[in-house]
Symmetry: C2
Subunit: 631 residues, 2 copies
């Protein structure tokens, strides 16, 4: 057995204690994630979605990966025979590993026996597929088409290993098992052998390894993983990658045109750009590199200001699944890949931990409800890869990613379904954090929270209603601060402490410091009247139009619900919105209605809007988010 | 010498007399093109452009083709050695042939000795490269990578031969030389041997052969060329083509999803779709197939109504250079390939000849000035492949087709420059037609026209001024009708016959029947006040905005000219437009100005608009056509 194989054991004294969700900084950040067992969803909408994710998405995901023969690729690699038939795209390993990560989180949460069995089987298979020197990417190992790192921009080898490392970290944190972590360390050691400023000065076409290595550093305490992550962050942005596939825009596509410290706007392939920014943020946090951190905050600001749809979707070009130029945000041909919004949540979560600023949690909420959950049906069985904001009458659906094609069971490139699975399985970890001062609640749902010295039971019928009740179940004798995010979308908000109402400021954290006692109750009232949102004047597609929002939700009109008006021709005839609870729709939702007029013939009717993320759960047809205002 | 090689001679008795421009129907159409020598531009804007085309574009085109080693490909094919290095894309032959067509038209017009030499050299080379059985496509002949018709959807073999056939027809019509025509007939005979309902039931990925074969039929009278064109029209639209490159949307991309008779909207790759429609129209005209003809008219109507930009550009998706769904017309990421507008002019010309309806000539005018001439600098030396309607501040220009990249000397795929050359070299043929009744003038410019019994000298400072004077130079003793198109863009128009004014109806032909005498003068007054045009309510990008037009020209604001306002932020503060003659710009043009306001800061200034097609003739920066209206 080589030195590498025994690695995690050798470093046991630096090993981070198991437990915790995604992102457990070693550096001292203003906010710290809660422990793995210290937060859970108890009931309500998100809890049900998380349950659908477990009982349907992950189970069906296993079937899809079997059908795609993703595991066969590992068997072939384990057999050490080159020239075997390879199945799926070159990043198929990555899909399997994202499923594995989802399963690891879910298993930690539920202790399900079937999941335990799948995890043990697949980890053993993955370990056996790994090359003796730690390399692992089954296409290059077994297909016999290209050697290692021969087409580094395209083959996703480092990306594949990175997803495995992320799965290993999840498995360790969720269940304490180090089986996959040993494989991850061997892979990371291999990468550290091959790549570096004084070694191979190259990087992967698809970023992710930056985040993965920092997380592995966090778990193992191995400085060289952080150093390698730092290398991958710095080497990018110098025209390092070359790829004939992308011709002139290779460096744009790969976020490789400008060094990260000088980048003003994210550009190119959206998922890659945001994964990369997230990983660079991880590096900045752990190395305490303020210059790098500030550059990333600026990039985030510019992304949100100039390259994001109202629902939080990112990526406005089909060509290259890419960010467009600033303010280039068509609603019909926007891309808005589900993975890009997930990547953005990962980025914002890191920035939130490192700053405590509410806008990062605000965006996490916006993207979860409107750009991530839009990617999966309510029953967890069908997916959108692209989250369009408009489907017109007469749209030709020739690509299964198109809105007009409806939701799909799986995709040839099925990054989004597996990414959704790992996100939903670990979602509760994004609810709250702790600090020396106390507990911070960032997202609302019925949940049980422990942190900052406080045990809290939170009750909320979110995102439908804005009344949130927090009951203190245990508290120490000293002063503890309870912080509650007051979303920027709120027009007003009231906090009631022991029945005493206090107005609180939207776009900030309401902080209550006191000696708490079990039985204390705090009520937050976030009125959610439906509202109209206007867009930026440089964005063509939203000129003279408004989007309906209500609470954290962006609404859309879908052809099925309209009363006397048609989606393609309708204009808002008045800005007076009405709301109605519709128990017949999706188990009960508030719809928003407004007087409307068909523009060509002037016919008057009423438009009926549902939460955008729920569209195409019935049948697929015209839909739009931005509603022209009758001039 | 085979039977095929002597073909044109054998059919000499059916040979159409040399002379004439593009499209010389054998069927009796309501309108007939003028003879080759019966129309010429004499002076003014278009005459100067045509001269720049001759002295700069065609000459520099020859250099570019030399540099790209386009002719070397023919030398390699002529040497009958397989495995030689091939230069350029698989359709490089087609670029050379489009240049050859341009040169043939221009040579016929000018009788230039240099052009004559180039023509003889290249025709001899092409003839020597042709395989003994008539096949000609140098990539497949000499590169040794793929056999004949092995990858028929991609390799452009039939397309390449079609461009050669078009060049041969042009050469024959322009100068009476049958040298290339013999090569063309051999190629067409070869195609007729291989393809047909009872032969190989396949077709080329890139349509064009349909038009080319009908034109060859027109020249030679050979029915089998028309039959073969008809076959290529009917075989498409049944999922005939398969191509892994385009995956799910293969049939959409190739206009192969729906048979032409059932097609409602053109779809897929715009240039291919419109070339195909033009060829199908040719077939319908020559076969007298009214059902097919009506289907094509409906397709044209729907294209103009739902898939065309205000400037006449076609194709709203970069992905696949394709038509989008109806009303999907973003101004920033629209494609608007120069070739697509050229193809559309070819289509409209056919429909005009076959119907005499003015809307086809209206569109030809719109597209010439605003979507074709926008593709070349005023000095004939640099090109746009893509005609965008907006460039924003901060646009990244990584692709040489992008508006923000500015005009280019040449492209890797240089279809647009060579297409522009052949269009401009033959442009005068689109000015007028004749019929049994008399002469119809469709486009205005200073020109000499003979047809329908009348010799007419036309004087116009078009497109800047709308006063057009037609002087009869010769006329017979009987009644002749002079028809003048009154453009649909005109708000009013007056015809003066011998000083007597008569109001005439925009969107129609003003027809004057009388016994004309030499010296008679007709004046047409087309007032050209600047006007604002609104878009269709289903088109997002133009909502709440207007485009400035003046006469046949669409205007744009370019960053260089604005007074106190910026392109990205400006809104029209008033709909009161003013005009100013600016002798300092481009040798003198009318600019349009309007009170304007910067939306973010309310700063007041004046926007200055120039003809859209002239943008990026100075330096490249923000530009837009659609101007937000201050609400």
């Amino acid at each position: 057995m080589s030195e590498h194989r025994s690695h995690p054991v050798a470093t046991a004294e630096r090993l981070q204690r198991a437990g915790g969700g995604p992102v457990q900084p070693r550096a001292t950040t203003p906010l710290q994630p809660l422990g793995f067992a210290d937060v859970r969803l108890t009931e309500g909408f998100l809890a049900r979605l998380q349950q659908e994710n477990a009982s349907t998405s992950i189970v069906r995901g296993h079937e899809h990966l079997e059908r795609q023969q993703a595991w066969t690729n590992f068997e072939n690699a384990a057999a050490r025979v080159v020239g075997r038939t390879y199945h799926g795209p070159v990043f198929e390993d990555g899909e399997a590993f994202k499923w594995l990560e989802a399963t690891a989180w879910e298993h930690g949460r539920s202790d399900d026996a079937q999941l335990a069995e799948w995890l043990e089987e697949s980890v053993a298979l993955v370990a056996s597929a790994q090359a003796d020197d730690g390399y692992l990417s089954t296409f290059n190992q077994s297909a016999g088409k290209r050697g290692r790192y021969e087409w580094i921009s395209y083959d996703h080898e480092i990306f594949n290993m990175a997803t495995m490392i992320q799965a290993a970290v999840a498995r360790y944190r969720a269940s304490g098992s180090g089986d996959l972590l040993a494989v991850a360390c061997r892979a990371a050691d291999h990468l550290a052998e091959v790549f570096g400023f004084d070694k191979r000065r190259e990087t992967c076409g698809h970023p992710l390894v930056e985040m993965a290595l920092v997380e592995l550093y966090r778990v193992t305490g191995e400085q060289r993983y952080l150093d390698l992550a730092s290398f991958f962050v710095e080497i990018r942005g110098h025209g390092t990658l070359t790829d004939p596939t992308w011709q002139g825009w290779t460096s744009v596509y790969f976020s490789d045109r400008i060094p990260v410290r000088e980048t003003v706007y994210p550009e190119g392939h959206a998922v890659r750009a945001v994964y990369f920014a997230s990983g660079a943020t991880d590096v900045a946090i752990e190395t305490g590199d303020a210059e790098l951190f500030d550059a990333l905050r600026r990039q985030w600001d510019n992304m949100v200001e100039t390259k994001m749809y109202v629902n939080g979707s990112l990526g406005s070009r089909w060509e290259g699944e890419a960010f467009g130029d600033p303010y280039e945000l068509p609603t019909d041909r926007g891309y808005g890949e589900t993975c890009a919004a997930i990547a953005s949540i990962q980025w914002s979560w890191r920035l939130l931990l490192a700053t405590g600023e509410p806008r990062y949690a605000d965006l996490i909420e916006r993207q979860l409800y409107n750009a991530v959950l839009s990617g999966v049906t309510l029953d967890g069985d069908r997916y959108f890869y692209v989250n369009t904001l408009q489907v017109r009458e007469g749209a030709i659906a020739y690509d299964d990613r198109m809105g007009a094609a409806g939701r799909q069971e799986w995709f040839g490139c099925s990054c989004c379904p597996t990414n959704l699975m790992r996100t939903l399985a670990s979602w509760h970890h994004y609810l709250a954090t702790s600090s020396d001062a106390g507990l911070q609640v960032h997202q609302y749902a019925s949940a049980q929270l422990s942190g900052g010295g406080l045990d809290v039971r939170m009750g909320a019928d979110y995102p439908w209603h804005g009344e949130i009740e927090l009951s203190i179940e245990a508290a120490p004798q000293d002063v503890r601060e309870l912080s509650l995010r007051i979303p920027a979308w709120a027009r007003s908000a009231t906090l009631e402490i022991e029945g005493e109402p206090v107005a609180v400021e939207p776009g900030s954290y309401a902080r209550v410091s006191r000696v708490w006692r079990a039985g204390d109750v705090v009520r937050l009232l976030l009125p959610m009247p439906a509202r109209l949102t206007r867009g930026h004047h440089r964005v063509d597609a939203v000129r003279g139009a408004a989007a309906i929002e209500r609470g954290p939700l962006v609404y859309a009109i879908e052809h099925l619900d309209q009363e006397g008006v048609t989606v393609d021709d309708v204009a808002l005839a008045s800005t007076e919105l009405a709301e109605e609870w519709r128990g017949d729709l999706f188990g009960g939702i508030p719809v928003v209605t407004a007087p409307a007029r068909n523009l060509p013939d002037g016919e008057v009717g009423r438009l009926v809007a549902i939460p955008y993320f729920m569209w195409a759960n019935r049948e697929v047809g015209p839909m739009k988010v931005w509603l022209p205002l009758d001039a």
